[in-house]
């Protein structure tokens, strides 16, 4: 189903999606973004500052939220113009590397709805992101151009 500007209204919901996050994802994100903060790859360092384990980069979660909106809006990452979030809870990513198998990792669940139609084919979307029941983003808003 292709979403169009004329086909959505205030309140239209985005289909919910969930994304799995593993340690490998965080390592790749660290390399690609240049954010090598030790709490995103060392359990020992994370625990030393009171965290339960390595946590995901907030910007990794924000990037997933951006992708969630982009995918709904037709797949063009350039369609998202304004995008802002508050980081309200951390996303612990328990160790999933061998030999612990697939018991680790984390899942971020996204849902959202159209908050406003702005004209010029642009809408504002409100995004809800949850991990382990906690809201990890608040006031997560993206302005996106629809076909």
């Amino acid at each position: 189903v292709t979403v169009t500007y004329d086909g959505v209204a205030k309140g239209t919901e985005l289909p919910a999606r969930s994304y799995r996050v593993t340690r490998l994802d965080l390592v790749k994100y660290a390399g690609a973004s240049g954010d090598f903060n030790v709490i995103h790859w060392s359990d020992r360092a994370a625990r030393a500052v009171g965290l339960p384990s390595v946590i995901a980069h907030g910007m990794y979660t924000m990037a997933q939220a951006g992708q969630f909106v982009t995918e709904w809006a037709g797949g063009d990452p350039g369609a998202v113009t304004d995008f802002g979030v508050n980081f309200s809870a951390m996303v612990p990513v328990p160790d999933d590397t061998p030999p612990s198998g697939n018991t680790g990792g984390a899942t971020i669940e996204f849902s959202g709805k159209v908050l406003d139609k702005l004209g010029d084919n642009k809408v504002t979307v409100d995004i809800v992101a949850k991990a382990d029941g906690a809201k990890v983003l608040t006031r997560a808003r993206a302005t996106v151009r629809l076909p």
Binding site: A32, Q64, G66, P77, V80
Partner: protein, 149 residues
Amino acid sequence: MALNPEFVGRVYGPGAPYEVSRVKIADFADAIGEPSELCRDRDAAVKAGYPDVIAPPTFAVVISMHAADEANNDPGLGLDYSMVVHGQQSFSHSRPLHAGDVVVATTTIESIKSVGTMSMLVTSTDIVTAAGEHVCTAKSMLVERRADA
């Protein structure tokens, strides 16, 4: 010790020009799981109306974080990075960054607030082309938790 409020309004940069490359965009898209061919295939991007492959919206953090670090690491500001968490982030794009862009970034310290043992530092980074065209403004709020406040 709280953050030095006299640093509000200070401007850092512009730093050295940053050249946006196809490989870096593709690596970033891979890392965040963005599947769009517009981030990888120049012909597809051109067909969609872009000059070259485009970056996902949060790619701008690669440039803005590096630029804002110049402010965050200013010794006179007094930020203890080991006690920092990312509180807010926003991007306002005039257009997507694309491969071949050569941009410079300038960071302004917008506000410093201290509430109890917490300090909030807001920086705003403007990313513009060498020719002066605005591409993106990235705002970041860092929260510093103080053990010794």
